[in-house]
């Protein structure tokens, strides 16, 4: 049993899952935004980064990890809601390219703005959990207390989102507003308010990922959420952009695949693996692996 845990394959699985839950979290936020407003938020990763920097700054002195997490998530919530109100609302009903261009522009502003305010160097939030891997008889099990926290955090966020959407009245209204905004409006649902809330929730979920990343080995820089956005997008796209659970599962799957490619394939393959995974998965099932929706032919 212990031999299995220290084997190379299990090491790759542990590392892959730890990384993959972060892709899943960003993918989950993209799915929430896509479901409620049919917009792909290219600034999702950058918004999470910005919110986490705000949290860090507010708690520069006497850092308490959990307070920092809470403030960052709250900052993400506010930032997401404000973004929907100011930038996204004028885009409803406009061609797809308008929203893509505006969100890419916002991504540029957030990253350049973060460098302007906080500088380009890496920053860390020191977590109370150790980053060093468990050891057994001189062999390494590629799991650390922090990695377990990371996985637990992702699962918690996912359960909260799923529970909110499925079991609460608010969740029912959110789904109604996304599915049939006109009907929902006629039935007295305040659709505009709910779209703002959807963006706020998505951004808060993304902020959890950024806080976790800022406590990891690399820390947080204004631009290192880019890679998480790309993988998160791939996870969401492979999962079908419609399915929150699909995004998380696809994220974990992609994290593992990537880890195996890095471990076993030549180094120049690793940089192209995300594009290949995306293309292959979407060529096989354009509607996503976990989506029930039928795709339009032509």
């Amino acid at each position: 049993m212990i031999d299995l845990l220290t084997s190379r394959v299990m090491g790759d699985i542990f590392l892959g899952v730890t990384q993959g839950v972060l892709y899943g979290l960003i993918g989950l936020s993209l799915v929430i935004v896509w479901q409620s407003t049919n917009i792909l938020n290219f600034a999702q990763g950058a918004m999470a980064m910005f919110a986490t920097y705000v949290g860090m700054t507010l708690l520069e002195h006497g850092l308490n990890y959990w307070a920092c997490l809470a403030i960052s998530v709250a900052a993400g919530f506010v930032l997401g809601g404000a973004t929907e109100r100011v930038l996204v609302r004028p885009l409803y009903g406009k061609p797809e390219i308008n929203s893509i261009v505006v969100m890419v522009g916002f991504l540029g502003i957030l990253e350049a703005g973060a460098i302007a305010i906080w500088g380009g160097t890496s920053r860390m939030i020191v977590s109370p959990f150790s980053l060093s891997y468990f050891q057994h008889n001189g062999k390494t099990i590629f799991l650390s207390p922090f990695a377990i926290l990371q996985i637990a955090a992702a699962v918690t966020v996912m359960l909260i989102v799923a529970g909110l959407f499925r079991f609460t009245k608010l969740g029912l209204q959110l789904r109604a507003a996304a599915l049939a905004p006109e009907v929902a409006r006629l039935l007295g649902v305040r659709v505009n308010r709910l779209l703002t809330l959807g963006w706020a929730l998505a951004s808060a979920a993304g902020a959890v990922a950024a806080v976790v990343i800022s406590s990891g080995f690399e820390g947080l820089t204004p631009t290192n959420m880019d890679v998480y956005f790309v993988f998160g997008f791939i996870a969401a796209a492979v999962g079908g952009l419609e399915s929150p659970l699909g995004a998380v599962l696809a994220g974990v799957l992609i994290g593992m695949l990537q880890q195996f490619i890095v471990d076993y394939a030549p180094p120049s393959w690793a940089s192209f693996s995300p594009v290949l995974i995306l293309v292959v998965a979407l060529m096989i099932r354009p509607q996503g692996l976990f989506s029930k929706q039928r795709v339009r032919r032509v």
Binding site: A112, A237, S271, V298
Partner: protein
């Protein structure tokens, strides 16, 4: 005597060729007159205009959003640079052609999924591609120079050119003018091709696929091939721009061609105006002068250019421009010019109508 309007209507290709020729001669004259610094700006403007007009075809004409053209520029630049490493006297045209060929193939490969993917899925895929290219080039090791990039012999100005412009004793100035002249001529050829393509059968087919792919299929347009063709041409233009950039700078760095460059291309394109040639030219000029404009802003506002804020000012301004243009004037500067001229013309027509009605 045939009027200009008739000539344009009857012989559109000849008219475009004539216009290109006149513009090229004017720009070459400008390149000879201005100082070496402005020569480098003219070269940059031409190069960026080539890349932007290629992106304009893809986004404006075929309606497929790509954030990956920095990757094709990188492929073009590194093809030329690697070729120059192994051939001491590399022919200019040959290395440009090679770069165009390689990036076209890459464009077709990346374009293939476009037959199945739409809108944000496609844009996200191109973003993933743009993201993968710089680390991929670095991982190739010494062959592509790793993270330090490649350096190769600078552009040689032919003696006849130096003596023709009277800069025989000033090789640096002659070199800059020669570089600008090459970029201007290549850009002129590229724009001439694009002007004809916009009005060709394939160009019209692309527009139809963008607006209604079902209708396009019904009238016999091969939708899949049209989408991939747009990717191929766009990649070829980006590759050409990358190759020229490498030739003129005689060095390439993988980090230059990151996602930020793609965002810059997209911003400039949207600012200039989607799907228009004039917009791409304006955008190229803005690209060339953006650094000096930003440093002007720095000195006006007293922001230290090496501080965090000074260094990221350009990025912030580009992002703001992108959002403001899209929300306030989606047709860009070219569209704005069009709107103003239409407004003036309608005012003139109104005045005429008024004066006519007053005369009797």
């Amino acid at each position: 005597m045939v009027s200009i309007k008739q000539f344009i209507a009857n012989r559109p290709t000849s008219a475009r060729a004539l216009a290109t020729l006149v513009a090229t001669i004017a720009l070459l004259g400008l390149a000879i007159i201005v100082d070496p610094l402005n020569d480098t700006y003219l070269a940059t403007a031409s190069i960026m205009a080539i890349a932007i007009v290629g992106l304009s075809l893809l986004i404006g004409l075929s309606g497929q959003v790509s954030i990956g053209n920095s990757g094709f520029m990188a492929i073009g630049a590194f093809t030329t640079a690697i070729w120059a490493q192994h051939h001491a006297h590399f022919p200019l045209l040959g290395s440009m052609a090679l770069s165009v060929a390689v990036s076209t193939v890459a464009g077709i490969v990346l374009g293939l999924p476009s037959t199945r993917l739409r809108g944000p899925y496609l844009a996200g895929m191109t973003l993933a591609f743009a993201f993968a290219i710089p680390p991929f080039i670095q991982s190739l090791g010494t062959f592509a120079g790793g993270s330090g990039g490649l350096y190769f012999p600078t552009l040689q100005t032919p003696a006849w050119f130096a003596s023709a412009i009277g800069e025989k004793d000033n090789p640096l100035a002659a070199n800059n003018t020669w570089g600008a002249a090459i970029a201007i001529v290549v850009a002129a050829v590229a724009f001439f091709f694009m002007a004809n393509f916009f009005h060709s059968r394939s160009g019209r087919a692309m527009r139809l696929v963008r607006d209604n792919d079902v209708a396009a299929e019904l009238v016999g347009v091969n939708v899949a091939r049209t989408r991939v063709l747009a990717f191929a041409i766009s990649a070829a233009f980006a590759g050409l721009a990358g190759s020229l950039l490498a030739i003129i700078q005689s060095s390439v760095l993988p980090q230059t061609f990151g996602v930020a460059l793609s965002i810059e291309l997209l911003s400039l394109l949207v600012l200039g105006g989607l799907g228009t040639l004039g917009g791409a030219m304006i955008a190229g000029l803005i690209a060339a002068y953006s650094d000096s404009i930003v440093s002007r802003i720095n000195s006006w506002t007293g922001i230290d250019p090496v501080s965090n804020l000074g260094g990221s000012l350009k990025g912030i301004i580009f992002g703001l421009i992108l959002i403001a243009t899209m929300l306030l004037a989606p047709s860009g500067l070219a569209g704005l010019g069009h709107r103003i001229s239409r407004f003036v013309r309608s005012r003139v027509a109104q005045k005429k109508a008024l004066s006519v009605s007053e005369t009797p």
